[in-house]
């Protein structure tokens, strides 16, 4: 298992000299980006990392009556099922905190995340997501 690899620190930009305005500058991470070495969230790896799969709404508008994780959790290798109830403050947003991390009482669009299944492999997480009863 590879330990989290951090990106190589960006080269320090030269001191901004007088007359810097109008000069061409290249991005400090440009070299990492064009060579595929730039690390994004999805590229990070940690020891004993779990894989997660979101369970998403197939409906544009519906009430969530009940979520039963028992069957998903019974699969060996499935570690946890997270729903809105597990999130102490289930709101976020850029200018208004009107978005839910996970849908709570209802879903409002097709594809809205309802629950997240964590498992030892992506395959198991996907299986757990399929077995989740909502």
């Amino acid at each position: 298992m590879t330990v989290i690899t951090r990106p190589v620190p960006p080269p320090v930009l030269e001191e901004v000299a007088e007359g810097a305005v109008g000069q061409r500058r290249c991005r400090h991470d440009a070299l990492l980006q064009v060579t595929g070495q730039a690390m994004y969230g999805v590229d990070l790896r940690a020891p004993d990392m779990l894989w997660a799969k979101a369970v998403r709404s197939p409906y544009p508008h519906a009430r969530i009556v009940r979520i039963d994780p028992a069957r998903a959790l019974s699969i060996p290798g499935v570690v946890d099922v997270v729903t809105a109830r597990d999130i102490p403050y289930n709101r976020y947003g850029f200018t208004h905190e009107d978005q839910r991390v996970l849908a709570d009482d209802r879903v409002r669009y097709v594809g809205e995340p309802v629950a997240v299944v964590a498992a030892e492999t992506l395959r198991l997480a996907a299986e757990g997501a399929q077995q989740l009863i909502v």
């Binding site: 991005r27 440009a30 990492l32 980006q33 064009v34 060579t35 595929g36 730039a38 994004y40 590229d43």
Partner: protein, 160 residues
């Protein structure tokens, strides 16, 4: 039943057992730990996972790994190195054809396939070649400029 996959990645022979339903993208990123190839939509729409298969750009998220058996794959890690950049990579830096950079590896490989087959493309040909690569920062103008610049630069270098 595991599949005995033997293929070439960036010129190096790779021999690895994979499940038959694993994608080439998965094998590159998770089994070979080469995360330069990006995972985007996993539906063949965004082009972030573009690699070259025998020189032709393919979306590796849609290609089952066993399909690469016996074939040559080029990923962004094989396009150039930080010390010796491919002309396209240098042009992307010079023209600022990068913002978040996530579409970069796929863009660069689509562009490399174009220039290999058509060293002096028109702007329309460049745009067509990268039509399958989405840039959500919408930096297309600079990307097109960079690819055209790289093609011109390459042609200048050909002249002794």
């Amino acid at each position: 039943m595991p599949f005995d996959l033997r293929f070439w990645v960036n010129g190096k022979e790779v021999h690895i057992e994979v499940e038959p339903d694993e994608t080439l993208l998965w094998v590159l990123r998770e089994r070979l730990q080469m995360t330069g190839t990006k995972v985007g939509c996993e539906a063949g729409d965004c082009g972030a996972c573009t690699v070259l298969l025998d020189g032709r750009p393919v979306t590796s998220c849609l290609l089952l790994a066993p399909k690469a058996h016996g074939r040559h794959v080029v990923t962004i890690e094989g396009l150039g190195s930080p010390k010796r950049l491919h002309p396209l990579q240098q042009a992307f830096i010079d023209y600022g054809a990068l913002q978040c950079g996530f579409c970069g590896p796929g863009m660069l490989l689509s562009a490399a396939a174009l220039l290999a087959q058509n060293p002096h493309p028109t702007e329309a040909e460049v745009r067509e070649a990268i039509a399958g690569n989405l840039c959500r920062c919408t930096g297309y103008q600079k990307i097109v400029q960079a690819i055209l610049a790289a093609s011109q630069r390459a042609s200048r270098e050909e002249i002794p």
